[in-house]
């Protein structure tokens, strides 16, 4: 199965997001390079607003992710609650 991935800047704003992605995607592999964190998974990766909010302790708009986003791969599907990367048809 093809890999999807997302890469975020390494900073205090992304730490709770990365922890949420790890919690919600047991198959995700996290690679830490200088200044960036790359998270890949086979086929699909789901980012949940709820989990991020629990980590953060405040409201979070999924579109805030744009500020620290570096790159991604896969089809993007976004609504108010989740941002999904996938290669499904």
């Amino acid at each position: 199965m093809s890999q999807v991935f997302i890469a975020l800047q390494t900073n205090e704003e992304t730490r709770p997001i990365i922890e949420a992605i790890e919690a919600d995607n047991p198959k995700a592999v996290v690679t830490r390079d200088p200044a960036m964190v790359r998270i890949s998974a086979p086929g699909q990766l789901v980012i949940r607003k709820d989990t991020i909010e629990q980590n953060l302790g405040r409201d979070f708009d999924l579109q805030e992710i744009h500020i620290n986003l570096i790159t991604l791969s896969g089809h993007v599907d976004e609504d108010d609650e989740t941002l999904t990367l996938h290669w499904d048809r």
Binding site: A35, M36, Q63, H66, I70, T71, H75, D79, W87
Partner: protein, 506 residues
């Protein structure tokens, strides 16, 4: 007492519909054809523009908010860089060469992409597409500006940054990137979208901005990593737009498939040639390296590109024609480029050098099948010549590829001991190419590429007329200051001296 019910917040999908689709209207006193005159001539058929949707569903109000936030972060770091001797915190002055190439060749490309997206945002008929193209046009202008601004701090201290606009137009290696963008801007709106939105953004910018910028961080360059990642946060949206546009074209009409496939073939190869510059920056110009060009290609080319083309096979798209030749070139290209830069170092607005023994050991470890066999012996020869006081220089002018405009320095895909050279005759004139890929692109549209401005023939034209010193003046290049070997350059002297001053008081 009456409680005021809180207003219901719009969901992302509803907001997107209201703030994109609902901004468009049906024209009544002019025909669609009059308003959008360029939609037909490339042969692409679109039946329903409303089927195109931005998967991020970004609306203009959110766009300004998040872009404003990115700018605040960017300038906080740029200010800190300028206030804290950021120009001395890089690992080594050699690293500056990579930044100079970036500023001379890549940043002007961002500005070209801005112009292109401003144009196609007007030329496309769908409201969703128009809004996304408008955002991308603004992004690209922001990238050009932030890059120039960030690197202007280095211009205060080092050579080669001072005339990037002239360098972009007049020096040979920059014309590679320039011709890529000029070619895309001289194409129809749909081809432009494949060229920049798909080939450049989806397939290539990952290689330019992600591992290279992580490398900038590794080398202590706060300014560059900041503009790089700030730009790349937009690129993630651009990539998604590029992929969405390809899917949109393919879903709209089966007749679009062969046209789209031809553009994918063409623009993959055009982009791959531009990446040659990036491969050299990664393998040779970063004093501390996160990964080799080969390793970056494995992740972002083979794995990511492979997944993409596997997915597009659903529509009948196959991997680009040059995909295999690209794979064969990976272990050679950075070495061939650096040898080219080194031997023509009189004509570069950056410094080059003979790699140290340590660097060569790293290269042979990263390129076990090619470096020791083909490239170490050449560097050893150059090193010996240097030690004997007869430094190796090539004052001959390179034969340029009529398509990608690189010197024909590459070898045959299946034999690294034979120079690759192709030629074709068009209306009695002979044209040269570096590869099958470039020859095919030319032969498909010869009337376009015979008009290409090439830097080497320019040397014999007015105002240069074959005089090398006149060419340097014209290209804003000061001999002995901006060009030549790093060893002994003013950049080296100043970096070493100032760094010493930064850590002591005498």
């Amino acid at each position: 007492m009456d409680m005021k019910a809180p207003e219901k917040k719009l969901g992302i999908k509803e907001k997107y519909r209201l703030l994109t689709r609902d901004l468009a209207w049906q024209p009544t006193y002019r025909s669609e054809k009059e308003i959008y005159p360029y939609l037909d001539y490339e042969g692409i058929k679109i039946h329903d523009w409303d089927k195109w949707e931005d998967p991020f569903r970004l609306t203009m109000d959110a766009y300004w908010k998040y872009q404003g936030e990115k700018e605040r972060k960017f300038y906080a770091i740029i200010d800190a860089h300028a206030q804290n001797n950021g120009h001395l915190n890089i690992t080594d002055g050699r690293y500056l060469s990579a930044l100079k190439i970036f500023l001379q060749a890549i940043s002007p490309g961002e500005y070209a992409a801005h112009k292109g997206f401003a144009r196609v945002g007007r030329e496309f008929a769908g409201a969703g597409t128009q809004v996304a193209c408008q955002m991308q046009a603004l992004d690209e202008m922001r990238h050009a500006q932030t890059q120039i601004h960030a690197l202007s701090n280095y211009n205060k201290y080092y050579s080669g940054f001072h005339a990037f606009a002239e360098t972009r137009d007049r020096i040979w290696y920059t014309s590679v990137a320039r011709s890529f963008f000029d070619d895309s801007m001289a194409s129809g709106p749909f081809e432009f979208l494949i060229a920049i939105g798909f080939s450049f953004e989806y397939v290539l910018t990952n290689l330019l901005f992600v591992p290279f910028m992580s490398g900038a961080a590794y080398n202590g360059d706060m300014a560059t990593v900041t503009f790089g990642f700030s730009a790349q946060s937009d690129e993630a949206r651009h990539m998604t737009l590029g992929l969405e546009c390809i899917k949109f074209m393919l879903e709209q009409d089966p007749d679009n498939l062969p046209i789209v496939q031809k553009w994918i073939d063409k623009w993959f190869w055009r982009g791959f040639r531009v990446l040659g510059l990036v491969s050299t920056m990664m393998d040779y110009m970063l004093p501390k390296r996160v990964m080799s060009w080969r390793e970056a290609w494995e992740i972002y080319g083979v794995e990511n590109g492979g997944a993409l083309f596997k997915d597009l096979a659903f529509y009948g798209i196959r991997p680009p024609k040059g995909w295999e030749d690209a794979g064969k070139a990976i272990d050679h290209m950075s070495h061939q480029f650096m040898l080219g830069f080194y031997q023509w170092r009189f004509g570069t607005a950056f410094h080059s050098w003979i790699p140290s023994d340590q660097d060569m050991d790293w290269l042979s470890q990263k390129y076990p099948t090619t470096f020791d066999k083909y490239y170490r012996p050449r560097w050893d020869y150059i090193k010996r010549a240097e030690a004997e006081g007869k430094p190796f220089k090539n004052f001959g002018l390179a034969k340029l590829c009529q398509c990608c405009q690189l010197p024909c320095v590459f070898t045959e895909p299946d034999d690294a001991s034979v120079l690759c050279h192709r030629q074709t005759t068009h209306k009695g004139e002979i044209y040269h190419f570096c590869s099958d890929g470039c020859q095919e692109i030319f032969e498909d549209e010869p009337e376009k590429y015979v008009q290409a401005w090439l830097p080497m023939p320019q040397l014999f034209q007015d105002p240069v007329n074959g005089d090398l010193a006149a060419w340097m003046d014209w290209a804003h290049l000061t001999d002995g200051l901006d060009n030549g070997e790093y060893q002994g350059s003013s950049d080296q002297r100043n970096f070493d001296r100032w760094r010493g001053l930064a850590t002591s008081n005498t």
